[in-house]
Symmetry: C2
Subunit: 122 residues, 2 copies
């Protein structure tokens, strides 16, 4: 069983992995089989849907890399952490958010909810 820290690191890696086969492998280690992701724009349940969602984000924002930008706070089966992406010369738009997750009994994410902390200025 992975630690919460490992799962969060895998989660960030999944958003950054552009090789489909490797990405699907990471997703399977990160989310439970019925795991989900929900934010104001996206709603995916199950590994295949999560994989397609991440691929679509990568296609829309090529060259962007997600990075963890907070500590990881966990209690009971609940987890909170923040991420950012962009804000560099090759990926200028800056995005940031905070994700809340609930863990499955095997330690993988069973539910991730994304909230927005920063969107690019016009």
């Amino acid at each position: 069983m992975s630690t919460v820290n490992e799962i969060v690191a895998n989660y960030i890696a999944a958003w950054n992995e552009t090789d489909g086969s490797r990405r699907r492998d990471i997703i399977a280690r990160t989310w439970s089989d019925d795991g989900s992701y929900l934010d104001s724009h996206r709603d995916s349940t199950g590994h295949a849907a999560i994989d397609a969602m991440i691929a679509a984000v990568q296609e829309r924002f090529p060259g962007y890399r997600f990075r963890l930008c907070s500590g990881i706070e966990a209690h009971h089966d609940r987890v909170r952490f923040s991420w950012s992406a962009g804000g560099t010369d090759t990926a200028p738009l800056f995005f940031a958010g905070t994700d809340f997750a609930m863990l499955a009994s095997d330690g993988r994410f069973r539910m991730v909810t994304g909230f927005t902390d920063a969107v690019p200025s016009a």
Copy 2:
């Protein structure tokens, strides 16, 4: 059915209401019958348990008032907002946190998860 904003305002009011009868009335309007609250120190399910939990916090920290200190972000059935308490001459310890909630179909909170943003320095 209350708006999310009204529910969050009720939620803050519940933590501040020291009259037991009025507090239980606010709690019943804020949480669904099987609603829960979970943070690193507290775990309550149902109106009676939530009422006892809030009464215990009020007894431990008399004179402290919770106030909303962020916008309220909501999408689908998910809600995020931040609160703070204290930091005044009569209630000197400063606390802050972010709560993540899921709504029941009737618009009340069915699950609230609390995370810590600030605890008093020693």
